[in-house]
Amino acid sequence: MLSEFNSKEEIILLKIKSYVSNIFTEKTEIIKENIKRKLKELRYTLPLEDAYNKYLEVLDLPKYPIGFDDSVEIRYFMGRFLPPPRIFGHEDILWRLL
């Protein structure tokens, strides 16, 4: 019977929901900062930023201000070449969901 398979509990599927809104703004930077502030207010962490800061800490380098989570560029000469570390790449997120 069809109904036997219709129980939601039996099937665990990945759920995806996406919402989009278009606005006219003078500066996207302001939106970026507002979102960031709101997320911190709601006690969400920005893993990319955290990982970046942690990385700098390990290297004993001062924190360099970054905007959203972007422009993650270390503008310092390390004295030696370091391989670019990958942090929380998207495959890792998918792996965690699995």
Partner: protein
């Protein structure tokens, strides 16, 4: 630019993407940019409450957001939705359609409907199903069949009269009304229950509507957004049983309450290309003819074809197809994070910075050295 956060509900993530559209417009003498804000949520459990809270908070902190639109909506569905209605079935439709998945019920109803009505004794004798009386009682309870009573002349076996119930025949007999053929009182004649299908049953059977209703229920149960499904799309000579848009992918469904044969395949193939469907799904209750599979394999179509070859396999097969598609969408939605997922060490800029910094300190050292030398000279 994009980032992600881990949601408070475990195993859930939100990708936030800001996109400056290149089109600029003049507003109040200032040049303003159109920016799109997109939030994509990935989870394994229902996180509607947290999503709602986040959307509300982000809307509050940014002026100009009027409403959130579906970020995964499909353009073809959006376009067609203007002319065609989204499925709007009620609870009763879903509940009834599920019973049609039982082949005994479907066969009984189709048999009764095809001849306009049948005597209960004929249904019991003719149909090759287990417990026919049980099935008929169930159908009566579900109001899918209606009973009437037929008076048959004992002498000629002719159909004399029809009444809605036994009581009305008894009432008529009390007035001494007799059979015009044999002169017996009507209550003394043979009484047979006559079964017909109800309007609701007919609607479900016509055009295999029960399959459409079951498909829609399965899609909604598998979390396909309501605005992504269109059913019975008529355009010119074409009729599409169902269209589903998920992200950029368009799924085209063909439903058959029999075997899907090679004759059906050609029409299906033309619909696939007409709508530019990415996935074609054939759901046929009696399976798909082997030559159809062979035909589609040979064609190497752009669309990927899936076959659902029984009633029972609808939900398991559909969940597999949708799951595969959702992981593809997830990969695409997360792709922008890939470039954020690595720290770029700007070595060239670092060398420049190093040299500039050293020039400054070297100049200072040089100045200090010169000053010391000059002082020495003065001494």
């Amino acid at each position: 630019m994009e980032t992600f956060i881990r949601l408070k509900n475990t195993n859930s993530f939100c990708v936030i993407k800001l996109n400056d559209n290149s089109e600029k417009s003049e507003e109040k003498d200032k040049q303003v940019t159109q920016t799109s804000i997109k939030l994509t949520f990935l989870s394994l459990t229902s996180i509607d409450e947290e999503i709602e809270k986040l959307l509300m908070n982000i809307k509050d902190c940014i002026s100009g957001i009027n409403e959130w639109e579906d970020g995964l909506s499909n353009n073809t569905i959006k376009k067609l939705a203007k002319d065609f209605e989204l499925p709007n079935f009620g609870q009763r439709d879903y509940s009834l359609a599920q019973h049609f998945a039982d082949s005994s019920i479907l066969e009984t109803l189709i048999t009764i409907k095809s001849v306009g009505g049948l005597l209960r004794s004929d249904v019991v004798n003719k149909l090759n199903i287990e417990n026919p009386n049980e099935i008929l009682t169930k159908l009566q309870k579900l109001k899918l069949i209606r009973s009437e009573y037929i008076i048959l002349c004992k002498k000629t076996s002719e159909y004399v009269n029809k009444a809605p119930n036994k009581e009305s025949i008894e009432a008529v007999a009390k007035h001494g009304i007799r059979c015009s053929r044999c002169n017996r009182l009507l209550t003394e004649e043979n009484l047979e229950e006559y079964l017909t299908t109800t309007e609701e049953a007919n609607q479900m059977i016509d055009g295999s509507h029960w399959m459409t209703v079951n498909l829609v229920k399965a899609l909604f149960d598998l979390d396909v957004p309501k605005g992504s499904v269109l059913v019975n799309v008529h355009e010119g000579y074409e009729e599409i049983d169902a269209l589903v848009g998920l992200g950029k992918s368009l799924l085209l469904f063909e439903l058959k309450d029999s075997q899907f044969s090679i004759g059906h395949a050609y029409a299906f193939q033309s619909r696939l290309s007409l709508y530019g469907a990415d996935i074609g799904i054939i759901w046929a209750t009696d399976g798909v003819a082997p030559e159809v599979i062979e035909h589609f394999n040979r064609l190497e179509l752009d669309a990927k074809i899936h076959y659902i070859e029984s009633v029972d396999s609808l939900v398991p097969s559909l969940s597999k197809i949708l799951d595969e598609l959702r992981w593809e969408i997830a990969e695409n939605e997360l792709k922008p994070l890939l470039r954020q997922g690595s720290i770029v060490i700007n070595v060239p800029q670092g060398i420049i910075q190093f040299l500039k910094k050293n020039i400054r300190s070297w100049r200072q050292d040089y100045k200090d050295e010169v000053a010391v030398t000059q002082e020495e000279h003065l001494d």
